[in-house]
Amino acid sequence: MSSKGTSDKCVYLDYNGTTPVYPPVVDAMLPYLTQHFGNPSSSHYFGREPKQAVNKSRQSLLRLIQNNSDITDPHSIIFTGCGTESNNLAIRLSLLLCQHIADGNGLLHVVSTNIEHPAITQCLSSYSVQGGLAPRISVTYVPVNEEGIVSVDHVINAIQPNTALVTIMTANNEVGSIQPVFEIAKLCREKEILFHTDAAQAVGKMDLRGLADPTTGADLITLVGHKFGAPKGIAALYVRPNCFNESGRANPDDGGSVLLMGGGQEGGRRGGTENVPYIAGIGRAAEMLLEKRQSPLHHNDNIDGWEYNALHMEAMRKRLLINLVQGLEKENSAKSTFVRTNGPSDPKQRLPNTLSVGLKGIRSGELLAGIGMIVACSAGSACHSSSSQAISYSSILKAMNVPPEYAIGTLRLSVGPDTTEKDVDFAAEIIVNEAKKQLGL
């Protein structure tokens, strides 16, 4: 085993932070960095291949979120530079198009949850503060339960006459809880309220087909490339065709751009020359998730690539948890449990790759500092302090009422399709040893 502090690359257990760029994705990108350098907006020869690549990627992404028979207009996919841009665009478009339902004070209303990513909360905040962006809004952040899941009824009951948008993440990045977005989308459609979901963490880990169903699905969906094997710097926003022309909505700029004004690319919604190599990459990454593989459980069945990966990741997650529990609980003479998982206990309600685990009596920030050169993961607490009251910890864990003694010791471990059993066994051993050191065992 190599010693700490060497240049050896450590075990990577932070796939929710970002994923490596997979070799077939790199392979798909390279031609557009070399021979096919043309501008897809050009009408001459050099624009044709890049344009085809961009259109093909749109189709590939749509197949992730729609059933084959439902494939709508490929231009319902708008490529952006990142998930934050997609989320900001979704919110801004929705607000600008719903000004006709503002209340007597000119205020619109948005419904979200108290565990959203800052790309949503900070954006909403910028519209709700005094002197902030227009149009002004008020926001209802519906609380989640102790497993990190929001109630469908609570969301729907929060809707007001001036509600312009409901925005709820598909799956939480910290604890992996999957939100009931399919049901909420359907109910919002019945109430003619725009529904957006940030699916960044969900792609490649669960079945999203039907999320963009033309009749019952979401109106706006954020997809983020670097969460499923594409490079950082490419994302997409799905916009249901005609959703901005229904129920009295009308864009005063008649379908134009609201964030990046320029050459009319992406159907006029996002100016700027398309990032062709990266678009080719995200398209290839999406295709990989739908390639058929033999099921490891039922050898006569062929399953999609995402499902194959999900089964592998679930097995790695389980192995990791067992190793941690076996390594730590046997030293535990106290009556209370030392190791506590955060998030849903039902595997169907959480992502297969995410293990948020609270270690009682541990400061996860300090533990990370001790293992950071060998095991890459993230922590639920931020501060290094001798006083437990001075230690801040994740607002997500607070929202879930995770007991502070576990929240302060929470690690977020997220495995990937290429995580091996040896990775897991090794990482668990390192974490257990470091935890024991902190506890003086």
Partner: protein
Amino acid sequence: MSATSASLSLFRSLLRESRKVDNYNFRHYAIRRVKIGFQTNRDLTGNEASLALREGEEQLGILRRQVVLGQLYPTAPSVMENVA
């Protein structure tokens, strides 16, 4: 070359290239993927077998290019390389 010897040759080539992949996790994933892929398709015949072989050849091309890239831009060795 018969179909059986062609697929055997492809299998060996894919495994050989997979073992040369620079990145520890990608290398093990590639090896696993090759073995499972051939196991899945071992009973294919006719057109299906030809299509699978063609796909395998494409994957071999990808692997070879990525091996070269890995040699040009090597990553730091994983700590797992030294773990028994």
